[in-house]
């Protein structure tokens, strides 16, 4: 199995370099919203002194770390697989003796992510010089952030793939995916740090898993959590990953059966 992933990586890595313009456009897509929120909230915080106890410096640090976490945990399964399900070219993957999503699509996501992170580095450096964030990052937090980001990506991948599988039943999958993404952004801490949400929304965010994908790793990297709190969230994220995988598997099996029923 490792050999499959190794070759898939080589193929996908080589492929991603063919689509540099595509990569840049996606990168801007991921960058624009955090940078806009950074600008807005730092302006507000500077004018008021602080917002609910968060200073302009806090906002700068939050969004600068969010830029990295965002890309590290993002996934693009619907863009890889959505059209293949709709136009039937998924057949080419289904005749292979491996799970196409857990091999080809997963590695495609990872290769794309790796290249995006490389492309982000110089942009992040420029932003660092511009905004001068105060970051106190410890080795323990970095070590804990690695599994947090990996699990965060895995959870996003399972849910993103499951939503993509809706394409087996309806061509309106893009609208559903957009709706999901908006909900995700709100409750993951993309728009605002979750502590600024109204109490009702904050409670919903606490109950949903999305905060574990963005807000938790950001807070972890910024040193806002104790090791115990981090471990608890990591355990919770692992449980959500298992649940996500179960959902992914059930919907995939149903989807392939549907695909096979209506004509691949």
């Amino acid at each position: 199995m490792l050999a499959i992933y190794k070759h898939l990586w080589q193929v996908n890595w080589a492929e991603q370099w063919q689509y540099r313009a595509n990569l840049i456009m996606y990168l801007f897509y991921w960058l624009v919203s955090p940078i806009v929120y950074l600008a807005v909230w730092t302006t507000v915080a500077t004018a008021q002194g602080s917002v609910n106890g968060l200073t302009a410096q806090d906002f700068v640090a939050y969004y600068m770390v969010l830029l990295i976490v965002n890309i590290a945990t993002s996934e693009i399964t619907i863009h890889i697989l959505g059209y293949r399900i709709m136009d039937g070219t998924l057949s080419n993957l289904l005749v292979l003796p491996v799970h196409p999503v857990l091999t080809q699509v997963l590695v495609n996501n990872l290769a794309f992510k790796a290249l995006q992170l490389i492309a982000l580095a110089p942009i992040w450096a420029v932003l660092y010089v511009l905004f001068q964030p105060v970051l106190t990052i410890t080795l323990v937090n970095v070590l804990l952030a690695i599994p947090a980001l990996a699990l965060g990506f895995l959870f996003s991948f399972f849910i993103g793939a499951t939503i993509t599988f809706i394409a087996f039943w309806t061509t309106r999958v893009w609208a559903i995916a957009e709706f999901y993404f908006a909900v995700f952004q709100l409750f993951a801490g993309q728009f605002v740090p979750l502590s600024l949400l109204p109490p009702v929304l904050h409670n919903i965010a606490e109950a949903l898993p999305f905060r574990l994908v963005l807000y938790f790793p950001v807070q972890l990297i910024l040193g806002k959590l104790t090791v115990q709190e981090s471990m608890l969230n990591l355990g919770l994220l692992a449980v959500w990953c298992v649940a996500g995988y179960a959902l992914f598997s059930v919907v995939w099996r149903g989807g392939v059966k549907k695909f096979s029923a209506v004509g691949a």
Binding site: A3, I4, K6, H7, L8, Q10, V11, A14, E15, Q18, Y19, T89, S91, N92, L94, V95, L96, P97, V98, T103, K257, S260, A261, V262, G263, A264
Partner: protein
């Protein structure tokens, strides 16, 4: 080999050993939405959808012996591709059963998928942005092919398809014929025992078609693989398939030797005659004068040296030929079988 009766009474050619493909009463009905064109119909269908059933494949049965190459023929929409997709595990049937290499195809078990291949003309398995060589290595990993086996198979495919010069170029830079060679190689690296080929020569020029055909024949001879092939090019069928299965409107129309079909459907021969200096020669008294084919390069009129085709019953060919040669100033005469396209076309509608 011996003729065998299938469920629906058609004959087949059986070989010794277990049959790798056994299809029994296979059916597939699609449910499709049905609406008329126009804005009003679109609005109405939003609230109330109409559906209708399309019977793509109906109660089809056949068996294919080990090492056979069988042509699976039918007009567009006959159910050929649907059948191939069911046999390669991509579609669930709505009825009947199939057993391929002792597997139920639509269970899609990994060891089954490792022992078959499906090649759909123009639908690529290869990644466009990288050289085919990289996709081959990926397939080596996916199909768990050992290094020694991979090298042996690749060398063999390279010898048959002359791949070495093209597999280092990105696939998008290859011609259609070159790409099809690479597609075939990618599909065969794991040495499948059963090949489902859906229009493998579609869109290729004559030279490329000939090369793919001779490759398939040689591959079948060397590996003993069983091949079920669809094609609209009769040259593919006549070059490769001793046996054909004809399907039309989802139903099996014929299963047997190609030559037998010819004898049954079109029990006549064509005598192509080129006459010398002859103004009033009338060939119609020897048989039915059919239209002169364009490739003869003449309008068929007597005395201009053009060829005419006379259709006569197969058992009268010798006598009629002798009479023509005795009666008329013949400069050239050949006896031909009826075009296979005509035979198949008649079989579709019989």
């Amino acid at each position: 080999m011996q003729p065998v009766q299938t469920r629906n009474g058609t004959s087949r050619i059986a070989r010794n050993g277990p049959d790798p493909i056994i299809v029994d009463g296979l059916s597939k009905t699609y449910r499709v939405t049905d609406r008329e064109g126009g804005f009003g119909a679109a609005v109405r269908s939003f609230f109330k959808r109409k559906y209708r059933d399309v019977k793509a494949v109906q109660n089809v049965s056949f068996r294919i012996g080990s090492g056979e190459i069988v042509g699976f023929l039918g007009p567009n929409g006959a159910g050929k591709t649907t059948t191939l997709k069911m046999l390669s595990g991509l579609l669930y049937p709505t009825g009947g059963s199939a057993n391929v290499l002792s597997h139920t195809p639509w269970e899609r078990r990994a060891d089954y998928l490792r022992s078959i291949t499906l090649v759909m003309g123009q639908r690529n398995r290869l990644s466009w942005d990288i050289p085919a060589a990289d996709s081959f290595l990926l397939n080596q990993a996916i199909y768990r092919i050992g290094d020694a086996d991979y090298k042996r198979t690749f060398d063999e495919l390279n010898e048959l398809l002359e791949l070495a010069a093209i597999i280092r170029k990105p696939v998008r830079n290859l011609s259609l014929g070159e790409r099809m060679k690479c597609e075939l190689a990618a599909a065969l690296l794991h040495r499948p025992q059963v090949l489902f080929l859906d229009e493998p020569t579609i869109g290729l020029d004559i030279g490329a078609q000939v090369r793919i055909r001779s490759f398939l024949k040689e591959y079948n001879r060397r590996s003993g693989a069983t091949i079920l092939l669809t094609s609209h090019y009769m040259a593919d069928v006549t070059a490769l398939c001793e046996r054909i299965i004809i399907i039309h409107h989802g139903q099996l129309k014929y299963d047997g030797k190609l030559a037998d079909l010819s004898r049954r459907i079109a029990p006549y021969k064509l005598i192509a005659v080129r006459l010398g200096d002859c103004i009033d020669c009338d060939l119609s008294r020897y048989g039915t004068v059919v239209e002169v084919a364009a490739e003869y390069g003449a309008d068929g009129a007597n005395g201009d040296g053009g060829k005419q085709l006379v259709q006569v019953k197969a058992d009268e060919v010798a006598a009629v030929t002798a009479r023509i040669l005795a009666d008329l100033p013949v400069s050239d005469l050949t006896i031909e079988d009826p075009p296979i396209e005509d035979v198949i076309e008649r079989a579709f509608h019989e």
